[in-house]
């Protein structure tokens, strides 16, 4: 650990961003089958991380070199939390970490949601898109000028509600037995558009869901920021491996995003 800290201190002391470094795992809990919440102790990320920014995680196995990016889900003092699903070998290894273990990370990376304007931020997440929106709720709650309404869609178990409930002014959630986030948005439409604060949608989740959310927003003229995923090589903008098509051409999801507006993406 000491070594990880020394690396960060040396970089910051010279006016640079911390490179990859080793941190301590503070907590690991399984929220749902195959869904893990991991908390690391990292003062730098804790004080700089903003909603939708992500952190590159690295596995211990040196045959798996590429970063596993995860969105920050919550920050408490020096502790930074993430929620991730086990989808392959890398996340399987990371889910097996235990408190006190060491793990290599780098971040925070990417651009955050823009929550500068006072608004009712509607946090629309599906599946493993929840982490940045929990963090957004936390951030907005600390700001005071805005409100937040969480709109979460799950496959089955509503595993993230208890976290977002701590911060969001209102939480609505749904699972596949009942419908999806569009079902919820339809139900809430009057409430959202009729309030004092103008609604702004922040969204993260599977691509088809985000496209549906974007078009729901477009039809109602509601501003919409979307946090994308793409396979990454570096996470910090050096490799141009993580592009997405935008109206301005192919942009890097890691460094130009992960947050893009509906207009930038050209989604109708």
């Amino acid at each position: 650990m000491a070594h990880g800290r020394a690396v960060v201190d040396a970089a910051v002391g010279h006016g640079f961003f911390p490179p990859r470094h080793t941190v301590e795992v503070a907590d690991v809990i399984e929220l749902d089958a195959g869904v893990t919440r991991i908390t690391i102790r990292d003062p730098y990320i804790a004080s700089h991380g903003r909603p939708a920014q992500f952190v590159d995680f690295f596995t211990q196995d040196p045959t798996r070199l590429m970063p596993r990016p995860f969105g920050i889900s919550e920050i408490q003092d020096d502790l930074v939390s993430f929620i991730f699903a086990v989808v392959g070998d890398g996340t399987r290894e990371l889910a097996g970490l235990a408190p006190g273990d060491a793990v290599d990370v780098m971040g925070p990376l990417g651009h955050a949601f823009d929550t500068g304007a006072p608004a009712n931020y509607v946090l629309v997440a599906g599946g493993l898109g929840v982490p940045p929106l929990i963090h957004a709720a936390q951030h907005i709650a600390g700001d005071g000028n805005s409100e937040s309404t969480a709109v979460f869609g799950y496959r089955r178990n509503h595993f993230a509600d208890e976290y977002v409930d701590r911060y969001a002014d209102r939480t609505y959630s749904i699972d596949e037995s009942e419908g999806n986030v569009i079902t919820l948005l339809d139900r809430m439409e009057d409430e959202l558009t009729g309030g004092d604060l103008p609604p702004v949608i922040l969204s993260c989740g599977p691509l088809p869901m985000m496209k549906a959310v974007a078009s729901w927003a477009a039809e109602r003229g509601i501003p919409c920021q979307l946090s994308l995923e793409q396979r990454m090589g570096c996470g910090y903008g050096t490799c141009v491996l993580c592009t997405t098509d935008t109206v301005d051409g192919r942009l890097k999801v890691c460094a130009d995003g992960p947050v893009f507006t509906r207009e930038q993406l050209g989604w109708e």
């Binding site: 070594h3 990880g4 020394a6 690396v7 201190d9 040396a10 970089a11 002391g13 010279h14 640079f16 961003f17 490179p19 990859r20 470094h21 080793t22 690295f58 211990q60 196995d61 040196p62 045959t63 798996r64 070199l65 590429m66 970063p67 060491a102 290599d104 780098m106 793409q230 396979r231 990454m232 090589g233 570096c234 910090y236 903008g237 050096t238 490799c239 141009v240 491996l241 993580c242 592009t243 098509d245 051409g249 192919r250 460094a255």
Partner: protein, 319 residues
């Protein structure tokens, strides 16, 4: 256990260490024998992590006459101890390079190797013409990219086409010209010799090796372009053998060794194989300061090898 983890950094003096062992590549002084490899270094991204002018050289992303979009969709997959990339040479074009990256890098005093991409001889010539009067320190002609359908690797695998191209470019500038070779050939000494005879001042090798992965959940290739270029630790033995072969065939030409370098020790293997300097590629994806750390580790390893250090400083090589 993981060589790439910064917790193996032998100290935290990366940011102000004074280099002890410079080298000379085709007459151009490098502060140390370690540069970045093209395509894995974007100044706008790396500048936040360290002062890139501390490196022996920075090789910038391949530039083409006009902006290129690269390949759509998923561009990368992971292999065992490797990265597979199919960027397809996305870049904002040479004009942008001349007003943005290049002047910024020269302003901070970096030793800049400008990597040149093209789909045709005319493409390459147009870029070289523009770079001829620029402050770039060296040019690296990339005839070895496996991820574009025209030009790129096809030139690098055909000695006649390669000779014609390099002869033409040679006539356009006095800047030290490096030709970057592909390992995707039966005998790399053939294009190496063709490039040298056509006037290349130096050779760099290897570029990536054609590879792919399949997602067993879908049965489909991970990368939309299907194949990409393999790089990273897995290719180390292949890169070393190619440098050894080219050095054996061409005893005098400066060689920049590339492929799988993520430690000073691996850089040293390339120097023993006959390279004058090295470039660090994929390792920088997994840790931005990897090239600086490799340079730092190598600097100490060269202390224990004064004869090798002296040869490098004089622009000579071990073999």
């Amino acid at each position: 256990m993981n060589d790439n983890a910064t917790n193996t950094v032998p100290g935290t003096d990366l940011y102000d260490h004074e280099w002890k062992h410079p080298t000379l590549v085709a007459g151009v002084p490098w502060k140390n024998p370690v540069g970045t490899a093209s395509g894995t270094f974007q100044y706008a991204a790396v500048r936040w992590f360290y002062d890139v002018s501390r490196l022996g050289a920075v090789t910038t992303k391949g530039v083409s006459p006009v902006p290129w979009e690269g390949n759509p969709g998923v561009r990368t997959a992971e292999g065992p101890a490797s990265n597979i990339n199919a960027v397809g040479l996305q870049n904002p074009g040479v004009d942008h390079y001349l007003v943005d990256d290049l002047p910024k890098l020269k302003e901070i005093g970096a030793n800049v190797v400008a990597n040149v991409a093209g789909h045709s001889d005319d493409d390459y010539a147009e870029v070289v013409a523009k770079l001829a009067d620029s402050p770039a320190d060296m040019l690296e002609i990339n005839v070895s990219c496996p991820n574009v359908s025209a030009g790129g690797m096809s030139v690098g695998t055909d000695p006649v086409a390669l000779s014609r191209l390099i002869t033409r470019l040679r006539g356009m500038t006095d800047k030290p010209m490096i030709v970057k070779l592909t390992p995707n050939v039966t005998d790399i000494t053939v294009p190496a010799r063709a490039a040298a005879e056509a006037g290349a001042d130096a050779l760099s090798l290897i570029n990536t090796i054609v590879g792919m992965r399949i997602d067993t959940r879908t049965g489909r290739p991970v990368i939309d372009h299907v194949t990409g270029g393999v790089s990273g630790p897995a290719v180390l033995p292949i890169g070393l053998a190619r440098v050894w072969q080219v050095r054996t065939a061409l005893p005098d030409i400066p060689i920049i060794g590339i492929g799988g370098i993520d430690s000073g020790e691996k850089a040293l293997e390339y120097l023993y194989a006959g390279a004058n300097a090295v470039e660090v590629g994929a390792a920088a994806l997994f840790d931005p300061i990897a090239p600086l750390r490799v340079a730092r580790e190598l600097d100490d390893l060269l202390d224990e090898r004064p004869e090798l250090a002296a040869r490098l400083a004089a622009g000579e090589t071990w073999r």
